[in-house]
């Protein structure tokens, strides 16, 4: 039924290209990831090696997923926020906040594990709700609305821990970030679960449609009976919860809270992941898969830096270059120029 007749209204040179991009938005992020992996394999043939060590699958690919888990979780939430036409700068701070709360709760043996996990997530959800309400009710631009929590969130986290980095020894909670299940790190299952939930919710219900319509044209969506405000508020809550989960993973992973460093700059990585993944900052169409690839791309980059022995502070440079490159490739203007260069000779 979806016959792709040549478009009579738009046989412009770029249409095919654009159609192709629409058809397969994952192209560029995947190319980037592949290239990076290839580069590594060339330098260290063992890069992709996998082996089984005391019952665990072991190797860099596993690490990429395990270490990338935080990034992916954030990217999921960020994708939705960006799809709604917004942005969430507070995820890093929310990570720290949830992490701090979790660590403090984990120290108290009398609390059930459920509480240690759920309460921080609740806190994160409230943080997200706060952002959402600032955006939808008071009508503050998302950047600023979330900037508020970004600046003060870490402060609150430090307030919770009194500026300390409380360490804990709560096997159940530690499992979250370090445990293994069927030979794979538990975090991978966590991410998989989060992804499937998000995927199902967005594609098997109309939520995805409502989200994309809201991001693409809020007024029109409202005039068509979509409760745009609710949609927008919801995405910030989701983003908050994702950040909270990431915070739990990070905290459990090092068996201590670190209000200052947990999630430092992660909000930017998350945004990069989403944009590199092919979701436009202008909102509307989004691709979760793309964001995941984007997150993995950035994690691979980090790993590569470790391998090459590049001091961490220099790592941002290639990051910036890759992101700009991908964005330029996705910018119509840039492609217009490129195509222009290619076409000029042919033009009669």
């Amino acid at each position: 039924m979806s016959t792709t007749r040549p478009d009579p209204l738009h046989p412009d040179p770029l249409h095919k290209l654009r159609a192709y991009f629409a058809g397969f938005p994952l192209l560029w992020p995947l190319v980037g990831l592949a290239a990076l992996l290839l580069f590594n394999v060339v330098y260290h043939p063992g890069f992709l090696a996998l082996e089984v060590r005391d019952g665990h699958l072991y190797g860099t690919p596993v690490d990429l997923l395990h270490q990338g888990a935080k990034g992916i979780l954030l990217a999921i939430g960020m994708t939705l926020v960006i799809a709604s036409g917004g942005i969430d700068l507070s995820v890093g701070s929310v990570m720290a906040l949830a992490g701090a709360a979790a660590a403090l709760l984990a120290k108290r043996a009398d609390l059930p594990l459920v509480a240690v996990i759920v309460l921080p997530l609740l806190l994160a959800a409230i943080a997200g709700l706060w952002n959402g309400l600032l955006v939808t009710r008071i009508g503050i631009q998302p950047i600023i609305a979330t900037l508020v929590l970004m600046t003060s969130g870490r402060g609150l986290a430090m307030l919770l821990t009194g500026g300390q980095n409380p360490a804990f020894d709560r096997s159940g909670f530690i499992f979250l970030g370090n445990g293994h299940l069927l030979g794979l790190p538990f975090t991978i299952y966590l991410v998989a679960a989060a992804l499937t939930t998000a995927g199902l919710l967005l594609r098997r219900t109309a939520l995805g449609l409502f989200l994309e319509s809201t991001g693409d044209n809020e007024r029109a969506s409202r005039a068509s009976g979509v409760d745009a405000r609710l949609v927008k508020t919801a995405v910030y809550v989701v983003s908050g919860v994702c950040a909270g989960l990431a915070g739990l993973v990070a905290t459990s992973n090092i068996k201590q809270a670190d209000p200052i460093r947990t999630g430092e700059m992660m909000e930017l990585d998350a945004i990069f992941a989403v944009v590199v993944g092919g979701t436009a900052l202008t909102g509307g169409r989004f691709t979760l898969a793309g964001s995941v690839v984007g997150a993995l791309l950035i994690q691979t980059l980090t790993q590569t830096m470790f391998y090459l022995g590049v001091p961490p502070p220099i790592a941002p440079v290639p990051k910036a270059i890759i992101v700009l490159a991908v964005c330029l490739l996705q910018s119509a203007g840039f492609r217009r120029d490129v195509v222009g260069l290619v076409k000029r000779p042919i033009r009669r």
Partner: protein, 502 residues
């Protein structure tokens, strides 16, 4: 006759695949008011934009005072003496009137703006239009009419020889229009050549000396206004003798038969619409006539809950209804097509399918997603029923022509199976063919017992389509015509004058 001042000859301009201008021409003489006429999409605005350097023409020549010119930016055009007032007032709301008037031309000494001189010149400029306003006020804080005047004042402030007015009256009321025309006549006397682009025939005949008609981007003809009867003008614009269909009313004329579906008593909102009564019956098409800004759109928006009414009551199917949001309205069986397709209609980057099912899905709620097969079937049905031309249901809607976008929006509304359909300018800015198709469709809806509120600026269209026409002026209802009274001249007279309001 006075000498030719400006001549655009055989201008061609294409956007991607669309040929917006195809050998369009326009000849201007000093000291005349020249109406540039044509249906929407005839290329009027494009021609203006070429003249003022916004677009560069692909072919054709522009000759000013015998010298060929090729303005590459509005600024260059202004320097050549061609200045423009655009349809949507183009001023910076956050800047003061003075700043707007002299933006980029501020009097400076050694690079520093001379504040006092600036204000002085600004006051002089507005005084020339007989305006008494504080030029240090922010434009955004002024009423539209004033903004319009400021825009004109700005256009004149540079020793303009050609003044282009693109739909200048669309947001003005009678008095303001009158004073604007007064001003234009004065400027004509000063030897200015004025191009007037407007939809309102009566205004054309009121003020213009000469008319040039464009159709589908091409030059159709130039006439002395006094020697061109309205009917001939309209035919020239539409490019066909629509007599038969134009006057075909009988079918639609049939007055209300079925029972009352919707009844609004004294609904209004301060600053938006003074309380009006309106009733819709089963199988009835009621027109809303009036100039832009007369309150037609506002009426529809109040009925659909896009604006909350602060007075009056609405009963639907007999029982009272509170409409706080479109969701409420849709729940009560209403559907709405906005006049502003871009801002409030399409989701540009989503597919035809998604655009089409959105409202219906919103009605079903998020959890009961319509299965894809049914979606496709539905979309297929409407594509055929409305003759929507789209490369594929999955094509982003922004790749469709205006008319087809409009049809998709209609389909979106229809897909919710409404009892009451509110259509705001459903045929604006689309080609004549699509226009007539949509009118036909609307008429067919009434046969199915749906009741339609039909808003249009095109009187003939109202006449062709509606059984009853309510007329609005200055945000209040000034009359209602039914049966044989539904004639363009009658409607016009009600719009125009106080007394013979029905």
């Amino acid at each position: 006759m006075t000498r030719v001042l400006l001549e655009l000859r055989d201008i061609v301009k294409t956007f991607g695949s669309v040929k917006a201008l195809d050998r369009a021409s326009l000849t201007l003489r000093a000291g005349e008011i020249h109406a540039l006429m044509g249906e929407n999409g005839a290329g009027k605005s494009t021609l203006i934009k070429v003249l003022t350097g916004v677009h560069a023409p692909d072919a054709g020549t522009i000759v000013l005072d015998g010298k060929p010119i090729a303005p590459r930016s509005p600024r260059e055009a202004e320097q050549a003496g061609i200045s423009t007032v655009y349809q949507e007032v183009n001023l910076i709301p956050t800047l003061s009137i003075a700043d707007n008037l002299l933006l980029g031309r501020q009097p400076t000494r050694l690079g520093w703006i001379r504040r006092r001189e600036l204000v002085r010149r600004a006051e002089a400029a507005v005084a020339r239009l007989g305006l008494e306003i504080d030029v240090t006020r922010a434009v955004g804080a002024c009423p539209l009419a004033i903004q319009q005047m400021v825009a004109i004042a700005r256009a004149l402030d540079i020793r303009a020889r050609v003044l282009v007015l693109d739909e200048p009256t669309s947001s003005l009321d009678e008095r303001e229009v009158a004073s604007l025309f007064e001003l234009l006549r004065r400027l004509r006397a000063e030897g200015l050549a004025i191009v007037l682009v407007t939809h309102f025939l009566d205004q054309v005949y009121a003020v213009s000396d000469r008319i040039t008609v464009l159709r589908n981007g091409a030059f159709v003809g130039e006439h002395e206004t006094s020697e061109l009867p309205r009917r001939r003008l309209i035919e020239a614009m539409l490019g066909r003798d629509f007599g038969d269909e134009a006057d075909a009313r009988p079918a639609a004329a049939a007055a209300a038969t079925g029972k009352r579906l919707l009844e609004a008593r004294g609904i209004g909102r301060r600053g938006l619409l003074s309380p009006i009564d309106l009733a819709l019956s089963e199988g009835e098409i009621v027109g809303l006539a009036g100039l832009l800004g007369a309150g037609r759109t506002e009426t529809a928006r109040l009925l659909f809950g896009l604006e909350a009414a602060d007075s009056g009551a609405i009963t639907i199917g007999g029982q009272a209804a509170v409409l706080r949001s479109p969701r409420d309205a849709m729940g009560k069986g209403l559907a709405f097509c906005s006049e502003d397709r871009r801002a409030e209609g399409i989701l540009p980057h989503l597919s035809v399918r998604e655009n089409l099912i959105l409202a219906m899905q919103a009605g079903r709620g998020p959890w009961r997603l319509l299965p894809r097969r049914e979606q496709d079937a539905l979309v297929d049905h409407y594509i055929r029923a409305l003759g929507i031309k789209a490369p594929s249901p999955e094509a982003p809607i922004h790749t469709l022509s205006g008319g087809n976008q409009q049809k998709v929006l209609l389909a979106r509304a229809l897909a919710t199976q409404p009892k009451i359909l509110l259509l705001d300018e459903p045929t604006r800015g689309i080609d004549v063919g699509a226009k007539l198709e949509i009118e036909r469709l609307v008429r067919s809806l009434r046969e199915r017992g749906m009741s339609v509120l039909f808003i249009s600026s095109d009187l003939d269209e109202l006449v062709r389509t509606c059984g009853r026409v309510a007329v609005l002026r200055d945000r209040r209802k000034v009359g209602e015509l039914a049966g044989d009274d539904v004639r363009p001249d009658k409607i016009l007279s009600v719009i125009a004058h106080e007394h013979d309001a029905a």
